[in-house]
Symmetry: D2
């Protein structure tokens, strides 16, 4: 089974993408990144002091992970575009996790500003990974614009609610050809496995690991969960039945 | 973190218990058992011809797994007790997975006959692992009788419905001190992870693997899922919140 | 559509059965009973002082409802049988809502003691309405014993969780011919409607009304909900589809 | 309890809004409208032949309901705006249910075109009732534009899936001050009751009634369900608890 994960033309061995927000210390973060086996880590530009970003960047370099700057905290397309350009200059990468927030309370994306920013950044040559709602129509629009993936929220950032609308994640999977990455809402390992089973190509999470009581244990759990969900999505699961099906039928036994 | 899994006085390295029913061939079964990393396998007595049980038993021996005979297909306590004794004689083990079925359509256990059989088999010196409903009162009765574990159904055998009533699995976890093993209903990897997160000590499944299109891939998925769920259950997950919690707060940033 | 509700040989116009526990005053209770339009009310024997039961019984009489004594608080078959006989003597009715509790924390029934008490009370000529788990095998046993209905818990008493395992309620509906009454767990109106849609013949609830901030409003809501669910269960609902079906197709329009 | 339902400055006695699509005959439709007690009915402009719209309009007039034209089948803002104007001319009403579809398969709205059309129609003096996704940010934008209500989909039109993401309906309720009307996805009565309990002011549905085996029975069910859910939402429901709360406590009994 060829099961490579290609994103923005780059092949990754891990389908678990981690965020750094919420980590209690750089040391804790480093251990969690290693435990999770991640190869791509998203960092808010504003989290890094461009003058002395040494600490966090050193950690990422030691862990051998690729940096994915994000535009967390931006509420307009203009602000997000500006932040993306700053990030490109500062970190020498044209990859950007695009967040354009519409609401302080839910931190859910603003569809209109998101599309506007995505269009502009694609034109500017970025590899755009937009954090979006679970709306399949909006996801298709983003994909049609040339985004490298679509990253629907399972639930509000940091909520730990899991995937509130699995049906919509499936509809997004049907609607686009680019990678689908479940981003936000994950609370525990089974949520991550479920995301993969619904057809996602990868999972992005931060708080579920960084704010867990034991971030290393949870990062390890997530690593296994993503592998489990991916394998299960490829393995051809049994259909759901309302009644039982004996695993040991009374008749027609094979004569082992 | 000491995380040994003790069952009936024996320590197991794997928390995934597999059944053999539904396998399309012995070869396929062997590969799935190895992929799942299981150390305990349940087999219906009636599946094994006592005269020439060579095939299946050879597989189990080669895989280095412990045999757990079961009483699948028994509808009364008397029948189940008789079957358990036959199994003890045939396989030289006093471990028994006790099934006393109450209904052909759902294959759910019959509470009364199950208790009757469990009491008798505990008295007869068996290590009794009863397949039970998700009723916490019945589970506590079985535990009080001296069963080595309680094994509630997540959903009807072979249904792939997952865990229909997660709340009851949690109530069972609170109600007994012995191991709780989720038995029946699992359809895919996230179900197994969830079972562990609900507090189960292990997961028992057959059809989800043996009847999957690719049993080896699904067995591997289940191995990872059980590890993921166990770790997550120990890692102190984040609480569920209705609204968002920014992973990158606008204020009070650590000056990394 | 003939839609009579026959229970124990008696025809009722209302499919909403109310309990009195949790009411803050007799006056509030009376208003709620009237608002709910109920014709059958269950009362714990121990709630009524046999010497001066006047207050509550007067209310029931004024409301024109039938009294259904219950054995709340009984933990053994012997205690429940004794309580049922006391109730028969005190209130001159052989109807009994049979509760045999197995667990203080969940107040879920004890399957073994429940069956034992039901058998005895049926033999003693009672019209037995057992509060049971949502186990379809146990429900069929109770029906086979001659109970006048089976009354599965949707969730623990007073929990307001609704119906934790709708699938099992459907399985019970398939397993027995006698009336199925959803008893316990209901928190709000949609829970009651759902119970009826799952095939229940009636709904029994107490706390959802008596402990609501506005018991009269909630009793009225429940009255409508039970009618709504019953009608919906008879109306042949549309099937569930994963994708859309235009209510106004682009082609083949009728030329109205 | 003052519980008037004001929409676009008009007071309605019923919170059930019906669509006409899918009805098998005008006679069946008329009976269903009467049974549902609705006072507002939405009709696709293209369903009515402007030359001989007599049949359907006669029915609506006989039923005494207000006509709400809709733009079903429009895929762009321009098309929807044009259709709205045609409807205004044809039916002498500036009320419009605004649908701008983004996807044939799901018939979910297109956020960008919807906003564009809504802005234009508000400017043109329409009372705009937009069918939208369950995105709280988009809903707030529509409300801020001056729409008379927001009408989120519970699930794809005609799917009968109910409310796929109850959490988002609650978030929309928190996000806007204008009426929230659950539009699309309803399959059965408990779905409608639940919508109201989540804080919706009204429910709009078509297929659930028109395509039911017995439309009159289902319309009646929906009428009761909406009343039930509304009352329940106002009655102060009991909190959800994981464990039981005895409705008849063993101690501290009132001495009735």
């Amino acid at each position: 089974m060829d099961d490579r994960f290609l994103l923005g033309g780059v092949e990754f061995g891990s389908r678990l993408i981690l965020g750094t927000g919420g980590a209690s210390s750089l040391q804790s973060l480093e251990q969690a990144l290693l435990a999770g086996g991640t190869e791509l880590v998203t960092v808010a530009l504003r989290r890094i002091d461009p003058n002395t970003p040494a600490g966090l960047l050193d950690v990422l370099e030691r862990c051998g992970v690729r940096l994915l700057p994000n535009t967390a905290g931006c509420y307009t397309a203009a602000d997000a575009v500006r932040t993306a350009h700053l990030a490109r200059d500062a970190f020498d990468t044209d990859w950007i996790k695009l967040e354009v927030i519409g609401d302080e309370r839910t931190l859910l994306p603003d569809a209109v500003e998101l599309l506007r920013a995505a269009e502009r950044l694609v034109d500017d040559g970025f590899t755009v990974l937009p954090y979006t709602t679970d709306d399949p129509v909006l996801a298709r629009r983003l994909a049609d614009l040339g985004c490298a993936a679509v990253m629907p929220a399972g639930a509000p950032i940091g909520s730990g609610l899991g995937i509130s609308n699995p049906h919509h994640i499936e509809l997004i999977r049907e609607a686009v050809r680019c990678p689908v990455i479940l981003d936000a809402g994950i609370g525990t390992a089974s949520d991550a496995a479920r995301a993969m089973e619904l057809g996602c190509d990868a999972v992005l999470l931060a708080s579920a690991v960084t704010r867990a009581a034991d971030p290393v244990a949870m990062a390890t759990a997530m690593r296994h969960a993503v592998v489990a969900g991916r394998l299960a999505s490829q393995a051809g699961r049994i259909p759901v039945r309302r009644h039982a099906l004996a695993s040991t039928p009374a008749e027609g036994l094979p004569t082992w």
